[in-house]
Symmetry: C2
């Protein structure tokens, strides 16, 4: 159905191999023939068949992007479209295609990944999450298949290329912001404790408290899967404590948004009654009421750097493992307030 290299060769009066060389812009072809061949390609509407090419150089010019399980609502986090934008931009630039893989369960995801690598569909893989005891990571490591993680590997961090923020420092700083505002009872709400990102952010929170001579209480730390009924219960309990917190460090903007709304149900307002800070600086955090004070982790950059890094690794197998830390910055908005400050609600 398509026009092949032979057709072009015939039309240009050269051998197929010459055409191939023209495609690769081989310097040993005379400018004259190059021009002639290119003209023929144009006229015939020739486009190389990537499968044929992949077959011979066993390289696909495609990378696989692995999303976390779609079972929980995690996938709905605007984090993903935003990393994808970053990834996509450099992939497009470098002329790489993107294979996407998700699944409801961990096993489904693993299957998807295996299909990609065993079938020679991709040259490298990018993981958009990092959790402990992850089968996908293990599989990729065993096979020594090129991959990079967006986030921090839970093991062998110095042998796995990854691009991440310094989440513990970010968390420490944003917690300190709350402390500086005079809050003395600060709780932490995070996602699954299996996720590297949750662990780091929790640790930063802990460090801040300890360094400021505050005790870290276990009942102030709650883990919840993105605000299902279980999440509501946990938050409810937190505010039923004898000494409820007046400040909240929440590991994710979307969660924060849910918490704000839930709190309102209980008659508690942000920031008048309680100050919250969160992470990611997703678009939603700007337009919600109140606009959220959050740490901007530069999601787009995370994605684009990861893609660049992966392609380098793919092109040069013995590129060393890299760790790339994307700087964060705190976005001060309106979800925090000096502890005990007179209420300024104007509505």
């Amino acid at each position: 159905m398509g026009v092949t290299i032979k057709d072009v060769a015939k039309a240009a009066g050269v051998a197929p191999s010459t055409v191939s060389r023209v495609i690769a812009d081989n310097p040993r072809i005379s400018p004259a023939t190059k021009k002639r061949v290119r003209k023929a390609m144009k006229e015939l509407g020739y486009h190389p068949n990537v499968n044929a090419r992949s077959l011979v150089n066993s390289s696909t010019q495609a990378i696989g992007v692995v999303m976390p399980s779609s079972a929980d609502k995690a996938l709905q986090n605007p984090f993903f479209p935003e990393v994808l934008r970053g990834i996509s931009a450099v992939a497009h630039d470098l002329e790489y295609s993107l294979l996407l893989s998700t699944g409801e369960t961990e096993d489904e995801i693993l299957e998807g990944v295996q299909r990609m690598v065993y079938g020679n569909r991709v040259d490298g893989i990018m993981l958009l999450y990092s959790r402990i005891n992850d089968k996908v990571t293990q599989f990729l490591q065993e096979k020594a298949f090129p991959f990079v993680i967006v986030g921090k590997p839970c093991q062998d961090a110095d042998r796995i290329s990854h691009v991440d923020n310094d989440n513990v420092r970010a968390s420490k700083e944003i917690t300190e912001h709350l402390i500086e505002l005079g809050h003395e009872n600060i709780a932490f709400i995070g996602g699954s404790p299996d996720l590297a990102v949750t662990i780091d952010r929790l640790n930063g929170y802990r460090e801040a408290l300890i360094q400021h001579g505050m005790s870290v209480k276990e009942e102030y730390i709650i883990h919840t899967e993105f605000l299902k009924s279980g999440g509501r219960k946990a938050v409810h309990e937190l505010f039923s404590l004898d000494l409820p917190p007046s400040g909240l460090v929440i590991a994710d903007d979307l969660m924060a948004l849910g918490v704000v709304n839930m709190l309102e149900e209980f008659g508690l307002y942000v920031p008048e009654d309680i100050s919250i800070v969160s992470f990611n600086n997703v678009y939603l955090s700007e337009i919600t009421r109140p606009p959220l004070t959050t740490v901007d982790i530069q999601i787009y950059e995370l994605g684009s750097q990861a893609c660049k890094c992966l392609v380098e690794k793919v092109k040069n197998k013995d590129e060393p493992a890299k760790r790339i830390i994307i700087p964060f910055r705190i976005k001060h908005r309106f979800s925090t307030q000096l502890k005990g400050e007179a209420t300024t609600k104007e509505a």
Copy 2:
């Protein structure tokens, strides 16, 4: 690097062609040899090379998924991860891979699509948006490349397979809900007027008004790109009118969420001061305050049906063009109120 069909053949003491037939589960191979060959495959850890296979039968077992431009914030709409979930589920089932394509500009997107089809990377393409004068659609039609649209084609709707909701009816019904509640001044806020979905929803709104003897005023219809500064201005103007609306039909949950918050800034509360209804029933619409009355369009179903439809078309080139309408249902929640009803704010 990989174990090939020849290795398996040798190990099983058969010819490569036999192995190939075993893979295809050809009935003319004796059960005995099948078993023997399968055993050899297992032992050697054989996995077919899809590129080789693609090359010979010019079929890739992959489909391309085209997202709209990532330039505006549209991509951040949870609609997309949710369709993707649906698509992904059936793709996984049918053993198809997903190639993803986006871009900042329309041309970038077109380039991506061309790379997919010219390079023989995919067997079919799924468009996740529908806008008038879309180059991608035109390209695909010219090339007679198999594709389906999630949404309604702006042209040749009977020649292009698509899966959609009856958006005009949905919009009519939800507008009527507002009318039944006693609202007499109802405005419409939608996205780009180039999008099929905006057009349909606007038309449904119009129909409802007309059918109920209400006049449709142009100053009550506003189009805004997902709440940028321009959007704020438009909403502001709307509520500066001599006769501001008491009801709002908003073409998208996410937009609705933005509007609710913006309104609050102006000192207007939902639903006490103004009732709003929207579309999509995205997860966010449940957890926001107030929970939104919205039409559930069954996004997941939209995706899974579209994928099924595309694969059928891909497998059988002269499958007729289909139109699949996914039923909607209205989710009644708390963003609407009887016009003039006593305020019941309990906070």
